[in-house]
Amino acid sequence: MPVVGAVLHLRPGLEPPTELDDPRITVGERNGDKLPIVVVTDHRREDRQLLEQLEASPHVHAVFVAFVDHSDLVEVSP
């Protein structure tokens, strides 16, 4: 179960994207335009997809990954 800690760089003056309203995402304490989040998903592809989705949001300038744990991951090919 991948656990990823990341920082969203929000576009100046914009609110966090609505995509954050997702049970797989925990939102931390906002610091200016930076918003820490934790993403817990079932599959490595899923977290990548989720982060890409966030990155594609017009509200988000960029996403930086700060922490990754794939330690107990058993990859199953699709």
Binding site: V7, R48, E52, E55, A56, F64, V65, A66, V68, H70
Partner: protein, 254 residues
């Protein structure tokens, strides 16, 4: 049939000795076959492996029965060991800036992402022999055969072509009117991936499509400056994130 999972173990260590001997003999035969006077278009790799011994001559079957690796078994073993390149647990030398290694790569590629051209003669009617050297990759007397990074693709010569005329007799022909300069300037290869902060693992700055095996370029048989400083770690993507944007993966806005 399943292909080996490169993340599971050192693929080189998994090669049985028998395979290595066959590869060695095939390689000797191959190089003997390429020993033509016009064979001068092989770029020497900058970080060539030290040549410990001269190549022993190929043995007859009768000789093989008595001495499996010939009279000079020690030499043969050393040669084979040098073919495999350094062990993943060997210390990694500091080989200067990665940019030089990246530039070195461009000599055989028209742009970043173009399939590299083949710097040695090949059989023109079949791709069956490519994997003799390029399956796991090996070094041989200063030459480096990189392990192929897309194992599911079997028609090698569909994308990789030789870099010099494969046929004889060209000197008699009049010059080709189409032999004109080409003004194409290709995209350069990225040198380093961005880091989230100073000591964070760099992200993968290039496409990963058809580059499933990181060790093809970054493993122990890679160009020194492109080698990973921690070849003992095998699950690269655990720390080095590949970007879907760079890969132009489905659904990514361009």
């Amino acid at each position: 049939m399943t292909t080996a999972d490169p993340s599971r173990a050192d693929p080189l260590a998994a090669v049985p000795m028998v395979g290595a001997v066959i590869a060695g003999i095939a390689l000797i035969a191959f190089l003997a076959g390429t020993a033509r006077s016009d064979y001068d278009f092989a770029p020497p790799v900058s970080d060539r492996a030290p040549v410990l011994h001269e190549v022993p001559k190929a043995l007859s079957y009768a000789e093989l029965r008595n001495a499996p690796r010939g009279a000079d078994s020690a030499g043969f073993d050393a040669e084979l060991a040098s073919m495999r390149g350094p062990s993943p647990t060997d210390p990694v030398p500091d080989a200067g800036p990665a940019s030089l290694a990246v530039t070195d790569r461009t000599r055989l590629r028209s742009f970043d992402g173009a399939p590299p051209r083949i710097p040695h003669p090949v059989r023109q009617d079949s791709a069956a022999e490519c994997l003799t050297c390029h399956d796991v990759g090996l070094r041989f007397r200063g030459r480096l055969a990189t392990p192929m990074s897309h194992r599911e693709l079997a028609s090698c010569t569909q994308c990789h072509v030789v870099d010099a005329a494969p046929m004889p007799g060209l000197a008699q022909l009049e010059p080709d009117p189409r032999d004109v300069p080409n003004a194409f300037v290709g995209l350069a290869s990225p040198v380093a991936g961005p880091r989230a902060w100073s000591i964070a693992p760099p992200q993968v700055p290039h496409r990963t499509a058809m580059r499933e095996r990181c060790d093809s370029c970054h493993g122990v048989n890679g160009r020194a400056a492109m080698r990973t400083p921690h070849p003992d770690r095998q699950s690269c993507e655990q720390c080095h994130a590949a970007s879907a944007q760079v890969d132009l993966r489905p659904g990514v806005a361009r």
